[in-house]
Amino acid sequence: MQTKEKIRKFLISDLLQDNDISAISDDDSLIDSGIIDSHGIMTLIAYLEKEFKIKIGPEHLLPENFESLMAISNLVNNLLTDKGK
């Protein structure tokens, strides 16, 4: 499964479990809509680091890297690319 689809599945199954939303598009606002809240961001970062075996360092802990599914996917792919170098 592609990076983006894995993350989409996680967001829907874990972060939206108490929410009526059943689908997330690539560019939906995740932070300001409340899909990712201050607790959810911890859950998401822990998931990303474990699932993709990456380290999200302090320099990457910025809202813009988690604004949308596309932004998260880009962050993960960039970190995976850096790791492979």
């Binding site: 201050s38 607790h39 961001i41 911890m42 302090p58 802990l61 910025l62």
Partner: protein, 381 residues
């Protein structure tokens, strides 16, 4: 993972324990009663480099690993009976780590060397009268103008505030965003017009630690005082909580070990019904439970400190350690007082102070309840 300490690490602990026993405990009863911060002992701690442990040598630090820092703080809390002073040291190290990890080069150069030398005290200003565990609901705002931020708000229970030179303030910098991306951290020096303090707060325990309200009233903060980037505030907060929960567990462990040894001594010396009270299973069981807690906290603490040196994220683990260490410290202090019977209840004995000091441990750095909630969330419950 090797938990066997090297000779250097054993020497480090031994040096700090001897220093703390010889230098930091005299006069404690009086200053604890008065709620006075021991400035002269703070200087001694700085002279021994206790405020410089985890910072790079180029900023005046010792360049210690986090594991060695944890060992040092465990030793300090074991030897020093002034838990307020130990807490002030721990809190200062966490403030410094925040600057070390997220600060600009200028912020590091301006703050860390003075902090290491004990010439500058930093305080994290996060909690507010209406925002404790629910950090997201803070009301303090830092609105960006042309050349500065205009800071307005009230912070509550701030550790080190009455003696601090600089505050690390969590504030809303983008009120249009109704989410955690609205928050940022800013440096605010105490000399800035608009900064004022409430009177030092009287507390049940940790009485030598200085706490007060901090008020920011139209306080102008230069743009270069932003820590990290705008909108990064909650990320910084979450990151720093990991370090803090692990470091304060080292304080709890050191104290717990001291309590355990005190109970062992008393239970083997105190005789009732013709034999040491340690021979009664209700008594020995209390001490055995303290030993179990001490061993488990030490093993887990050392594991997490070493993992942190390997840049591992430990959100769940730090909360697990924090709850386990603080709850067990509190229980051990209650049991120690009970084990000492009537003597334990007397003010001239030290146990009542350790008990009072321990009560805050399940409140600060995230209450046990909020840490259990974090653990539950991370277990996807």
């Amino acid at each position: 993972m090797d938990f066997n300490l090297s000779e250097e690490q054993k020497q480090l602990k031994s040096t700090i324990i001897n220093f703390a026993r010889n230098e930091l405990n005299q006069g404690l009863e009086e200053r604890e009663r008065l709620g006075r911060f021991p400035s002269e002992l703070w200087k001694k701690c700085a002279a021994l480099n206790l405020l410089a442990l985890p910072f790079e040598e180029e900023y005046g630090g010792c360049g210690f690993s986090f594991f060695n820092t944890v060992l040092a703080i465990e030793a300090l809390a074991y030897g020093c009976k002034d838990a307020g002073l130990v807490h002030a040291v721990g809190s200062t190290l966490i403030s410094g780590l925040l600057i070390k990890i997220f600060g600009t080069e200028n912020q590091k150069k301006n703050i860390l060397p003075k902090l290491c030398r004990g010439e500058l005290i930093a305080a994290q200003a996060i909690t507010e009268p209406e925002a404790g565990s629910d950090v997201m609901s803070i009301q303090t705002r830092a609105i960006k103008a042309e050349n500065n931020y205009l800071l307005d708000g009230r912070k509550m229970f701030i550790s080190n505030a009455p003696i601090a030179d600089v505050f690390l303030v969590l504030a809303i910098t983008n009120p249009d965003r109704k989410s955690f991306a609205a928050h940022s951290f800013l440096l605010c020096e105490k000399f800035r017009p608009g900064v004022s303090l409430g009177k030092p707060l009287e507390k049940l325990g940790l009485r030598t630690l200085q706490n007060s309200e901090v008020i920011f009233d139209h306080c102008e903060i230069p743009l270069e005082n932003l820590i990290g980037q705008e909108g990064q505030g909650m990320f910084i907060f979450n990151e720093m909580m990991e370090w803090e929960r692990i470091l304060f567990a080292a304080c709890h462990l050191g104290t717990l070990t001291r309590i355990l040894e005190m109970c062992l001594k008393y239970a083997t010396e105190r005789k009732q019904f013709g034999q040491p009270i340690s021979k009664f299973q209700y008594i020995s069981g209390k001490i055995a439970r303290m030993k179990i807690a001490e061993e488990l906290i030490r093993t887990y603490l050392y594991r997490l400190a070493i993992s942190k040196d390997q840049n591992q994220r430990l959100t769940l683990e730090a909360s697990v350690l924090k709850v386990y260490a603080s709850e067990n410290l509190k229980t051990a202090c209650f049991e120690a007082l009970q084990l000492h019977g009537g003597y334990g209840f007397m003010l001239e004995y030290e146990i009542q102070r350790d008990l009072r000091d321990s009560l805050a441990s399940t409140i600060y750095s995230g209450t046990s309840e909020i840490n259990l909630q974090i653990i539950s969330k991370l277990l996807r419950l």
